[in-house]
Subunit: 133 residues, 2 copies
DNA sequence: CTTAGTGCAAACTGTTTGCAGAGGG
DNA sequence: CCCTCTGCAAACAGTTTGCACTAAG
């Protein structure tokens, strides 16, 4: 199966990349609709699926009910704001999770891990301070 | 609001605990139905919600489309089998994730983290070997 | 031309909710 | 008795899919 670079696919990818955020399908849909009003949400879903399968973007397993997509497909971790549900990238030393000894005891073959930091983002912290929390 | 220990709630809790697994609402529903056939899935959801809010069990943010519930409410991490989608508990040194320096640079206040190891469980590994993979 | 991709609507999955009635304390 | 909890059905949110048509290469 070979890929075609359709107009839709191109704009979806561009919008995700230029957002610099970890958008959900419908957040991206809203953005893309501005330059392509007749695009359908299904197309956005299909393209996000395709683009993540080919490794151009990454599909995130992250907190919250909606799936999010990352313009950056390289390995890195995420931090999640419990207040505004925003997600940011975090660069951590991935070697630190070299627990193989502990883990192999349980008989698992470790292939990777997902680390999600949880906290409150700068914007929310500032807002909280204003309200004296 | 005070809690009542209804028959349903008791059986739901017992079944989750005696399973020793990280069940989804409908897996638990199937088990509970055996001793209480007229129970409804909504009741299972409502009780899992209540029990996790009161800290008796834990609601997991984990890979996969379905939410899972943990009979063990204490802080610990999980390991996820990519083949059979089973989840197990893992005890790791939680202090290792003391990255505050790196992270606070981004202005986040870290309140916790979720670490999910990903791999292949003993059972699946054995099955793979049989098939010569 | 060929066949991957699209828009639309309808289906599907997991979860939540309104309501009238049941039962725990 | 009160009020939390239940069963049921219907609603909901997010995602996927079947189909006939469009357009990329």
């Amino acid at each position: 199966m070979q890929l075609r670079m359709t107009n839709q696919r191109e704009i979806i990818l561009q919008e995700l990349q230029k957002s610099g955020k970890h958008l959900t399908a419908d957040e991206l849909y809203d953005r893309v609709k501005k330059s392509m009003p007749r695009i359908s949400l299904a197309t956005v879903y299909r393209n996000l699926e395709t683009l993540s399968k080919t490794g151009v973007i990454a599909k995130l397993e992250i907190s919250g009910r909606q799936r999010r997509f990352d313009y950056d497909a390289s390995e890195h971790d995420h931090i999640y704001c419990v207040q505004c549900h925003k997600v940011d990238n975090v660069e951590l030393d991935r070697e630190v999770i070299g627990y193989s000894s502990t883990i192999s005891a349980q008989g698992y073959k470790i292939t990777g891990y997902r680390l999600e930091l949880v906290g409150i983002c700068p914007v929310c912290r500032k807002n909280n301070q204003k309200r004296g929390e």
